[in-house]
């Protein structure tokens, strides 16, 4: 009907133009204002004063209180804020080196460790770091009973004098120096923390009230201070002018919560300088335009075949386990993980002391797998494989990995039924040991082979795979000896033997170490990968 009224049409067009005019004016005004300048920057942004480093990562962060921190982003941001007694230089995690301690001495029985403190070390408020602060910090971690408390199991901290700390252990503990270098054991200013509700006394798990204070105002002796903490968007570190050591280049470090896809674009556009979470596929796209570090992580992805007959008579069959072990095509699994990943020869990651030689890694042997399956007496076995479907570890989708395992084992004659579930649901069945087969990962709590004793019979992870304490005397014996061995050579030898024995008879099949991709634009210098805290922001030039 409207088309029959040309005069009306022209009036309507005019009416539309009149209605649209205010909108156009508003949008134009807003865009002009938007173009008129940027927000104020915090002091120290001037190029002559070091500038700002922007690091993009997908946040895994709950707190900036070092006594409660154990998430990857938490470790990244607290490491340059709270100095530890020992640390690791660059990416070398095979040897702890002194930081707050001027040196350290371990008794021959590995039960007493003495740490003389650097006299020049002081907190961000200028007060000196004393042995009392170290004892307070360690006791607080223990009594908070949070995620990092296990690092000090059986450890007693005492102050020999104002500048000497002594740690004693109930049993020989040669791995203690490696645990001491963990950022969760960063030293806090005991006086200010106590003044704000902190306590190191038993009952601190309910009585300590210092977390909010530490989230808003850090109390460490490291090269940076936390000046803004937002658990979901960004953490800002500002250079500590009272730092006792070498002054870091960047006046400010902004760590932002950004999804992996956006990180790639941000680094290329210069919106940020460093990305920590790109996948190997994304890394290919930025090579040539940005510097890329791509190497295996200290995370081991593994498959287990439950050893408990009550859970599954099939998967607990030792011949079935051998069939799975030799039926897997480990090289094809690396295709899923992408460039930079590596086959896990044993359960201990490749760059830790005591890691198994890559040449000793299990290789696919289909005839051997079929022979083992025939010995097992199982006719076309069908088994459920559980995994977390909503999580990606360094670009690896466990659904893709599970599908590849399914295809590998089908060639041997084993039918795998994929059982994906959201992480929180899958964790339940994994942790209560009810999965017949599981596809999981273990990220190192600290960079020492002793962290992987959890996979030996009767221990934390082994029980999830139904591997009970009395299941394998040889492996248990090696684990006990490795745990208390004090000489480096003996430790290395025992951990290697232990992993070889586990690769022969254990229910675990170590699959791979995913690749960590760190991309940085070319303005960043001195970039190194650290397997525990990714990058040393204070060492970047």
């Amino acid at each position: 009907m409207q088309g029959n009224h040309p005069i009306g049409d022209s009036r309507r067009a005019k009416a539309v133009r009149r209605a649209a005019a205010p909108l156009a004016v508003t949008v134009a005004a807003a865009l002009m204002l938007a173009a008129c300048g940027g927000a104020k920057k915090q002091s120290g942004d001037a190029q002559g004063d070091g500038g700002t480093l922007v690091v993009d990562t997908s946040f895994s962060l709950k707190t900036a209180d070092p006594g409660r921190t154990f998430e990857p982003t938490g470790i990244l941001v607290t490491r340059p804020v709270y100095d530890t007694l020992l640390t690791f230089a660059g990416g070398d995690v095979t040897k702890p080196v002194p930081l707050l301690a001027a040196s350290y001495e371990a008794a021959p029985d590995a039960k007493t460790f003495t740490f003389p403190l650097r006299p020049e070390a002081k907190f961000s408020d200028g007060t000196p770091v004393t042995a009392k602060d170290v004892v307070f910090s360690f006791n607080r971690v223990k009594n908070l009973k949070g995620n990092p408390a296990f690092l000090l199991d059986g450890v007693t901290a005492s102050a020999k004098d104002e500048h000497t700390v002594v740690l004693t252990t109930e049993a020989a503990d040669p791995a203690l120096p490696f645990r001491i270098a963990t950022p969760a054991l960063g030293v806090v200013n005991s006086k200010t923390v106590a003044a704000h509700g902190g306590t190191d006394a038993p009952g601190a798990d309910q009585g300590d009230k210092a977390e909010q204070f530490l989230n808003s105002d850090s109390q460490g002796s490291g090269p940076y201070r936390i000046t803004k903490y937002d658990v979901s968007s960004e953490v800002i570190l500002t250079r500590n002018d009272n730092y006792w050591g070498a002054k870091p280049k960047y006046a400010k470090v902004v760590v932002r919560n950004v999804p992996a896809n956006t990180q790639q674009l941000n680094v290329l556009s210069g919106e940020s300088q460093i990305s920590l979470d790109m996948s190997p596929d994304q890394a290919v796209k930025v090579k040539g335009q940005a510097q890329v570090l791509q190497q295996p992580t200290p995370t081991t992805a593994f498959l287990f075949s439950n050893d408990n007959p009550a859970t599954s008579p099939t998967t607990s069959n030792k011949d079935f386990q051998e069939a799975v072990r030799y039926g897997l095509d480990y090289k094809s699994l690396l295709d899923v993980a992408g460039a930079g990943s590596a086959q896990a020869a044993g359960i201990v990651p490749s760059f830790f002391t005591g890691a198994l030689d890559p040449a000793k890694a299990v290789q696919r042997d289909v005839p051997r797998a079929k022979a083992a399956l025939a010995r097992a007496g199982l006719n076309n076995p069908s088994v459920d494989l559980y995994y977390a479907s909503d999580v990606t570890i360094n670009g690896i989708n466990f659904g893709d990995l599970g599908a590849r395992v399914q295809a590998n084992l089908k060639e041997v004659g084993i039918t795998i039924n994929l059982k994906p579930a959201p992480t929180q649901t899958a964790l339940d069945s994994y942790r209560n040991g009810s999965e017949a087969m599981g596809l999981w990962w273990w990220q190192a709590d600290y960079p020492d082979a002793s962290d992987y004793l959890a996979f030996t019979p009767g221990e934390l992870v082994a029980l999830r795979a139904g591997w009970k304490a009395d299941a394998n005397a040889e492996v248990s014996g090696l684990a006990q000896r490795a745990k208390v061995a004090t000489s480096d050579a003996e430790r290395v030898q025992l951990y290697k033997q232990l992993q070889e024995a586990m690769n022969k008879t254990g229910p675990f099949m170590p699959l791979l170490q995913p690749a960590q991709v760190i991309a940085a634009n070319n303005t960043v210098k001195n970039l190194h990968y650290n397997p525990i805290w990714y990058i040393d922001v204070d060492k970047l030039g």
Binding site: C36, S232, R256, N257
Partner: protein, 373 residues
């Protein structure tokens, strides 16, 4: 066909005699003053309160029905194996009590203004919401304004140019708006407008390390204007544009299609023809005789749209790193963080109740017949 019966704003269930003529003396119900109106508001608020209570029960039950364990979600492998650490976590979060007792404690605390402590941020949920709601509110507000202005505008243009090229183009555009998934649109828009063309900055509310404006309302654009900081306003606005447009896209599509249909219905009425015959300017005809009757229906959709936008923020905020309620809700669900999940659900329920109440009240402002009845 009589004018009034064809008017889409007339409540078909209401007897026509309930709508008195303009200028007529008030009837006996109107003479009783605002009492029925106050009663109406009171009833709606009471229903809203019950609705919020129901939401808390539902959220509580559903969160516990998920086959996951907050202990497993919040404690690491080692701590989860340590009975002392597990006991401390349960004690601190009240997980030792029975479920009804936990719910009772939650309600009791809620009545005292305590929404509990988040297991993921270790802060009071109230503080978390207070930090994040302004960011989402600013985003949703700009998005709804965009959706209303553009959606209603395009709907009108499409209706008055029915079956001609502007109408056809608008229909295709609106179909695209309702068809494109928000997460995809966010990714593509970011890539195109921010990365490739460099027209718009995106990611966060301000550039990394920038100082936010003085906290007056929590809305960075408004606060920076109030404090006369045009530099920060420019940046806050420019970073708001992309997420707001993405969030508005779906709703622009919905509102365009809905407005077009409502305006077309109104355009066919005798009273519109009569207004034109009287020689009224076309703009006046559309504004007074077409748009106004169509407005109640548009308002209903707009009210629902604003609530729906809060759900849309979950995707947009996560893709475009906007530190608002959507990001918080996503992380809370991922960590089975019950106090935070309850807090978010309660907040969204309150928003829905308030918006619906406002929409009902606005009906009366727009249409005198509804007000008088």
């Amino acid at each position: 066909m009589s004018t009034s019966s064809a008017d889409p704003t007339v409540d078909r269930g209401t007897p026509r005699t309930a709508a008195p003529r303009k200028g007529a003396a008030p009837g006996p119900r109107a003479a009783r003053g605002s009492h029925p109106f106050a009663r109406f508001v009171l009833v709606r608020l009471s229903v809203g309160l019950l609705l919020c209570l129901g939401i808390t029960i539902l959220a509580f039950v559903l969160t516990h029905a998920v086959p996951g364990d907050p202990v497993a979600a919040n404690l690491g492998d080692r701590a989860q194996n340590d009975p002392a650490a597990v006991a401390a976590f349960k004690e601190k979060n009240g997980l030792n009590e029975s479920l009804p007792s936990q719910y009772g404690t939650y309600l009791d605390n809620l009545l005292h203004g305590d929404m509990g402590t988040s297991q993921q941020t270790h802060r009071p949920v109230w503080d978390d919401l207070a930090d994040r709601v302004p960011a989402s509110f600013e985003l949703a507000l700009v998005a709804i304004v965009l959706a209303l202005v553009i959606g209603v505008g395009l709907g009108i243009v499409a209706a008055v140019t029915r079956n001609r090229w502007p109408d056809r183009i608008i229909r295709v555009v609106s179909l695209a708006g309702v068809s494109m998934p928000v997460f995809w649109l966010a990714q593509v828009s970011f890539y195109l407008f921010s990365f490739k063309l460099g027209w718009i900055q995106a990611g966060g509310r301000l550039s990394p390390g920038a100082i936010p404006p003085e906290d007056i309302t929590g809305l960075y654009t408004l606060d920076s204007l109030l404090t006369g900081d045009t530099g920060t306003f420019g940046e806050a606005f420019s970073r708001l544009v992309l997420p707001a447009c993405v969030l508005a896209a779906f709703n622009i599509g919905v509102l365009t299609r809905f407005t077009r249909a409502a305006v077309l219905e109104a355009l066919g009425n005798d009273y519109v023809r009569a207004a034109r015959a009287k020689g009224l300017p076309e703009f006046t005809v559309i504004r007074r005789h077409v748009l106004r009757p169509a407005l109640t229906s548009i308002l209903t959709v707009a009210g629902l749209t604003f609530g729906g936008m809060l759900a849309g923020t979950v995707l947009v905020e996560n893709v475009l790193s906007w530190p608002g309620l959507g990001q918080y809700a996503y992380k809370s669900a991922l960590n089975l963080d019950l106090p935070s999940i309850m807090g978010v659900c309660l907040f969204v329920a309150v928003v829905y109740v308030v918006i619906n109440l406002l929409v009902d009240l606005l009906y009366g402002v727009i249409d005198p017949r509804i007000r008088l009845s």
